[in-house]
Symmetry: C2
Subunit: 424 residues, 2 copies
């Protein structure tokens, strides 16, 4: 089939009738299919079922003698810290292990910087209207944190190698009320892109106007590769150290998509000095994270190598799903000139760009035909996609048969919306 | 032996020599004994060791079909909510189950009220200098939370039936900047007292000048009885509801001293309306609590009755320890007119009142003789005991033989300090 923009109005009208009929047929089937959520499938979760039984009733002592059942320790048991440190190529004293939610660690860090300031600095909220840079499309929950704290969100365009660094440098160096930036540097949510070495290096060398500026480096998909090769990015914490900005980056990692999404272990990594500072606050805040669950993770994965071997099992489950998305989109939409999409080598999403002004409509029509998608715009600050074009496809969770059906309906709707746009 | 204040100076001098010698002897033994921490002993923790193996590899589904391994649910699984609700005589929609730390839930609640206000109210921090009433002696970590948020702490005297309610009512009704009060209503930390029915009823009927005043009802020892009978207190949430103050109380409970101190489950309880409000915030803050650990607790305890039966096992372990404290203090210090102490029927502490001006010195001398005690004053706001008298004895953790040794040294030091005070 030729590109839609080379079709005559009558050709488009014929096509529209066919697509209307196909859409109606889908609608009549009354399916209920869900592509909204970037969550692991049952098959993936089951990879870790033995974790529930890997501790014996007498196995509760950490290597340093800590009784993991009792109180004590705000930054995690040594062997769990070591696994995170090894995975991130850091030292254990640059790691604080928390509970099961890296989002909670990020929220907490923003909350504290707002109310108490960065280290001994003036609380952000006392300095004026706080702003964050938000590379977009990005992770909606980052934007929700900003919204909760009334932080202004400044979108930054995303390219193939990461955020537009010219724009980042310009903004950060000129405005002292820009206090942070949200980054998902590897297999980014939702675009799947990996920050280039150059991008990471430029991050480390930022010269912020605010001395309390922080990079929120949400390395959520650090080990979540799909391809045969595992991409690497430079170590932001080391680079910042070398550039004289040792306390600027705050890295967040979790095992939510490694072990159990709801019962995993998350960590924050930063300079040793930042970690010491944060531990002081944690002693006021909590009796400490669940050390037994940390020990469970240590016993199950053994070491960083064990984690990476386990991630290959996840990749084996996810590869066919991402291939199905890619194959279907190519087959149905390839060469039509109406859409673009990413072919991620890791992460949980495919980022899809529909014709401008069509994303909301596509999501709405899909809903009518029984396919639930993430709301259009969710990947932009305030839910506002300026081009109404981006849709996040989340292929990990539905059974693969349902995924195939959902993608078929999705492609029909995309074509229908594109034709309708060209006809008006 | 007769009361010290009836002794002549020469009698006291003789006694001092004996006590000096005894103290020196203790010191020379070079013991290392610890009575600082209100933590469960190994024996208590071992009561729950089977919890580590009580889930099979295929046991991860909650009654409502929730896959506890995956994301989702910010307020806990229904069966865990029901256990807390039954224990507290509430309904499950009045309960939010959190992670492993009730302190974290309290800190979080204060943080949010400071930054965002109570429900839709003006943030506390925007209203002026925030104040909390602090019944004292009390729990040092409550005071640390206040300190962290620069909240002024106003001490309130504690009597046999709870805080001085005349003082509470007067303060709360007259000063709109008093936004909260910390309460440990049952087997209080450190006095062990149980709030009387009258006290609880007066709490429910408070008429605060601030419409965003909150009672932080830390029911930390709700099920932690030592005696043969289990004391009950009126249901603060029901009473507040009946008094037209449904949103005023925030109750906190945890299983830290029921299952594993570091790996348990905590909850917050309040009006259904408050819970709905708080759940909105939680969706921005976290991916939700560890549901697998909740399921583990549900399988192990089965129901509220199972929890209470388990608490009898804790009581059986703790009774001899508290009896040893009581017997030793009576034997060594009874009738000397130099000290008073509590005989708690539950909880984790004995509150000890030394002669005025002697607590710091006693703690310091005990340290010299190898007995670590909680810092004197820790049970008062800002660590400031106006009479330098109160010492918190924590008998739960050390092996009982060490506890006996520590108590012997402690009593020697108390007597020595009392004599020295009388001689100057």
């Amino acid at each position: 089939m030729k590109p839609y923009n080379q079709m005559s109005a009558s050709e488009l009208s014929v096509l529209k009738k066919e697509l209307d009929a196909a859409f109606l047929k889908h609608k009549e089937k009354g399916k209920k299919l869900n592509m909204t959520r970037g969550v692991p499938s049952n098959e993936q979760l089951s990879l870790c079922n033995e974790m529930m039984t890997c501790l014996s009733a007498s196995d509760y002592t950490a290597d340093n003698g800590t009784d993991c059942r009792n109180y004590g320790g705000v930054d995690g048991i040594p062997e769990m810290k070591k696994i995170f440190a090894d995975l991130l190529e850091l030292t254990p004293d640059e790691v604080i292990v928390g509970g099961n939610s890296s989002l909670a660690l990020m929220f907490d860090n923003v909350a504290v910087n707002m109310s108490h300031g960065v280290r001994d600095g003036v609380p952000w909220q006392q300095q004026g209207q706080v702003k964050f840079l938000c590379p977009s499309p990005g992770y909606d929950r980052h934007f929700t944190v900003c919204k909760y704290f009334h932080i202004d969100m400044l979108p930054i365009a995303m390219g193939a190698g990461g955020p537009d660094m010219d724009a980042v440098e310009k903004a950060v160096s000129s405005d002292p009320m820009i206090k942070g930036i949200w980054c998902v540097p590897k297999y980014s949510n939702p675009t799947g892109i990996v920050y280039s070495d150059e991008t990471v290096k430029r991050f480390a060398k930022l010269k912020p106007a605010a001395d309390d500026f922080r990079i929120y480096w949400d390395n959520a998909y650090a080990f979540h590769y799909l391809g045969d090769t595992h991409k690497t990015i430079p170590n932001i914490i080391r680079l910042c150290e070398e550039a004289g900005n040792p306390n600027m980056p705050l890295e967040f990692v979790s095992f939510s998509k490694v072990s159990f999404a709801g019962a995993s272990v998350a960590c924050m990594a930063s300079s040793k000095s930042n970690c010491e500072y944060i531990k002081q606050r944690l002693t006021a805040q909590t009796i400490g994270p669940d050390k037994i669950n940390q020990l469970r993770h240590v016993r199950f994965f053994k070491n960083a190598g064990g984690v990476m071997a386990h991630m290959e099992k996840h990749a084996a489950i996810l590869r066919p799903r991402f291939k199905l998305v890619s194959d279907t989109l190519h087959r149905e939409l390839g060469g039509l000139g109406i859409a673009e999409w990413t072919e991620p080598e890791g992460g949980y999403f495919v980022s899809f760009d529909a014709p401008e002004g069509c994303a909301k409509k596509i999501v709405s029509l899909c809903a009518q035909a029984g396919v639930a998608l993430t709301p259009a715009g969710a990947t932009f600050p305030d839910g506002n996609d300026p081009h109404d074009r981006n849709i996040r496809i989340a292929p990990t969770c539905p059974p693969i048969g349902e995924l195939a059906e959902a993608l078929e309906i999705f492609c029909t709707v995309v074509k229908l919306s594109a034709v309708e746009k060209l006809l008006t």
